[in-house]
């Protein structure tokens, strides 16, 4: 047993699982804030893509990765607020707006990418985040490769799990978010600014999703590729359900997906006899299974997807 735990292949698999889990985990945390406040954020995919793009361009232009991260977060907030205007102020169909934002994100990122870098064959690169050296911590069996061989951005992401949990469970803001997600009319009666809270939540949601996207370009690859999020924003929506819209649940569910992704990447090299296309399907099939198996047991916020109008009941 101990032999397996220190086996280099298994160690590599563990740290890859975490690395692959982080982008979807950040997006799912963003989805958590939005959904808990009653807004369905289908735009996570587009927000991730914008984060990946803006983060890459800013880091490329300035030579500082942290500038890239900060720019991505700001862009994410902006994207979140756009979604907010539509879903909160205009009361538009949240699915349609989300899909439109995602399509727009694909267009805008590839438009400006070509504008800035041209259509040349040489893909511009940045020096991505590198894993921190935490000495012997990295050699602890199982936990070492999982937790202590990651880069700075990954630790920020893991810290955000705790922050999200704390904010949602222990703070006044978290209570307000849950209140407007469950019963906006009651929350308003108690003096909570429903629209204000929802805007705040959707802005943070965009920031987190964009950070997840920035992880793809600034940490995982060091490049930007058109549509590089490859459906991770949608997978994050399934993770929310599997993780029951709870921060720690989201972390665990993301790890499961990260492990599936790491497994398929490794299996592609090994002579398993399974065609690589079937391995590539794994995360997507897993998402479908999760949706089919766990929907309805997670308990969505009662007012999820329902626009709120001040001084008017939503019940029809």
């Amino acid at each position: 047993m101990l032999g397996l735990l220190t086996d280099p292949t298994f160690v590599g698999f563990l740290s890859a699982s975490m690395r692959l889990a982080i982008p979807i985990m950040l997006a799912a945390l963003g989805g958590l804030l939005a959904e808990r406040s009653g807004v369905l954020n289908i735009g996570l995919e587009g927000m991730m893509l914008v984060g990946a793009f803006v983060g890459f361009v800013a880091a490329y232009a300035t030579g500082h990765l942290m500038v890239g991260v900060a720019s991505a977060v700001l862009a994410g907030i902006a994207a979140g607020l756009i979604l907010g205007v539509y879903t909160i102020t205009l009361g538009a169909n949240q699915v349609v707006v989300g899909i439109a934002l995602n399509l727009l994100a694909i267009g805008i990122t590839s438009f400006f990418y070509r504008l800035i870098f041209g259509a040349g064959t040489e893909r511009p690169r940045i020096d991505a985040f590198v894993p921190l050296d935490l000495g012997s911590l990295a050699d602890i069996p199982f936990i070492g490769p999982l937790l202590f061989r990651q880069d700075a951005l990954a630790y920020v992401a893991l810290g955000l799990v705790l922050v999200t949990w704390f904010v949602m469970a222990k703070t006044r803001f978290g209570l307000d978010v849950r209140a407007v997600g469950e019963h906006p009319e009651a929350a308003e009666t108690l003096g909570v600014n429903v629209h204000g809270i929802r805007y705040f939540a959707i802005g943070l949601s965009g920031a987190l999703a964009a950070l997840g996207g920035a992880f793809l370009s600034l940490s995982a690859t060091g490049v930007f590729i058109d549509g590089m999020t490859a459906g991770r924003g949608y997978i994050a929506l399934a993770i929310l359900i599997l993780g029951r819209r709870h921060a720690v649940g989201v972390l665990l569910a993301s790890l499961l997906f990260g492990a599936a992704d790491a497994l398929q990447l490794r299996a592609q090299i090994l002579p398993t006899g399974v065609p690589f296309q079937f391995l590539l399907m794994l995360p997507y099939v897993l998402t479908i299974i999760v949706l089919a198996g766990f929907v309805g047991r997670g308990g969505a916020p009662a007012a999820l997807g329902v626009p709120f109008r001040r001084g008017r009941s939503n019940k029809e």
Binding site: I42, V85, Y86, T89, L90, G91, A92, N93, Q94, V95, V96, V97, I99, A100, L101, L103, L104, A105, I106, G107, I108, S110, F111, R114, L115, A119, A230, G231, Y234, I235, L237, A238, P275, Q277, F278, L280, M281, Y284, V285, T287, I288, L291, A292, G293, V295, G296, A300, L304, G305, V306
Partner: protein, 358 residues
């Protein structure tokens, strides 16, 4: 608990009519013009090059019509599903599977007469697309899995599955590329306009649009479909079989997207290839919304987006504006389409300001 009251089945507010659609398009083009100007190019030059290429010549119009076919077929399917309250984002995958089925039958049936082979290819494509969409319907009706996410996931699965088939069992044994063997003459849709690529697929579009219109507005089942989309609970109370209607919405969308795959294979590529679609199924969502899910509106908006896509590469080479501008415009169209809800709010706000001053 029925399928009608899970959180994903929110009512779809249908987009506005003709005026709203045109205004949204105009606004999107205006923002596009600003982006072009930001590049340092005159918007008139760029748009001029775009529409000249797409509509300024016989061949340009033919190419635009060729591009209209997959967008319109997928758009019609998505629009019908919409009418039933189903948000099917899976047309892309359904198109790939339809194309694969058509390509496989086309190779298998080489030597059959055209009047047998073409219908067999079309039928198998519609069946393959319908089955793939039916999978999402089953997941929704049996397990209440939201079709929005399942259909997107099934798109990725379909594209990998097709890639496997084209690298493996369906691969042209005499070629190096991942594609089927070339179709014989009998497996191809006839060309309508000599010297161009305009094929009979456009006739399929017209027939499909007319049938969809008659179905929606002249048949009881079409009425049921619309009622289910507008208010599933009321439909259930009125004795309409909501689950069956939803299933139908899925199947018809899959079948039409599958037909789009067939027409691309039999009319344009003349074999099944790995990159059959550059996202027709996704653009078709916007086509359906812009066409206000009205069959003829859908065909018209498919034509508009087809022209945009066909002209875009010329715009890029002639004016140096990245062709992905068209994707930006497509996304903006939807945002403006929905954004028109802001107008009454804005009006109230302005009126309120004046009242306070006065």
């Amino acid at each position: 608990m029925t399928v009608t009251d899970h959180p994903g089945a929110m009512r779809l507010r249908l987009p506005p009519g003709l005026v709203g659609s045109l205004a949204a398009v105009a606004a999107a083009f205006l923002v596009g013009a600003l982006l072009i100007a930001a590049v340092g190019v005159s918007p008139l030059t760029a748009y001029g090059a775009l529409f000249e290429a797409a509509l300024g010549s016989r061949n340009g119009i033919a190419e635009t019509l060729v591009r209209t076919v997959p967008l319109a077929l997928c758009g019609l399917g998505i629009a019908l599903a919409f009418r039933a309250g189903v948000f099917n984002v899976g047309a892309e995958g359904q198109l790939f599977l339809g194309g694969t089925a058509a390509g496989a039958i086309g190779v298998l049936g080489a030597g059959w007469p055209a009047y047998v082979l073409l219908p067999a290819m079309a039928l198998s494509a519609a069946l393959a697309g319908g089955l793939w969409s039916g999978l999402a319907a089953w997941l929704k009706l049996r397990f209440r899995a939201d079709e929005l996410i399942t259909t997107i996931m099934l798109n990725y699965v379909a594209i990998h599955l097709v890639s496997f088939l084209l690298h493996g069992p369906l691969k042209d044994p005499n070629g190096a590329l991942a594609q089927t063997a070339r179709l014989t003459g009998d497996g191809r849709l006839p060309v309508l306009l000599a010297g161009t690529r305009l094929h009979a697929g456009i006739l399929i579009v017209l027939v499909a649009a007319i049938l969809a219109h008659l179905f929606l507005w002249r048949r009881t089942n079409g009425f049921r479909l619309r009622v289910v989309g507008l208010n599933p609970r009321a439909a259930e109370n009125a004795g309409i079989d909501v689950r069956r209607t939803i299933l139908f919405g899925f199947l018809i969308c899959g079948a039409l997207a599958g037909l789009a795959g067939f027409s691309e294979v039999a009319g344009v590529q003349r074999r099944m290839i790995e990159n059959l679609s550059p996202g027709f199924g996704y653009t078709a969502i916007i086509v359906a919304l812009l066409g206000a899910t009205n069959p003829f509106g859908v065909v018209a908006s498919a034509f508009l987006f087809a022209a945009l896509q066909i002209g875009a590469s010329t715009m890029e080479s002639a004016a140096g504006v990245p062709s992905t501008l068209t994707t930006v415009i497509q996304g903006l169209v939807v945002l403006f389409l929905i954004g028109r809800a802001a107008l009454p709010l804005l009006r109230d706000w302005v009126a309120d300001r004046f009242r306070r001053r006065g």
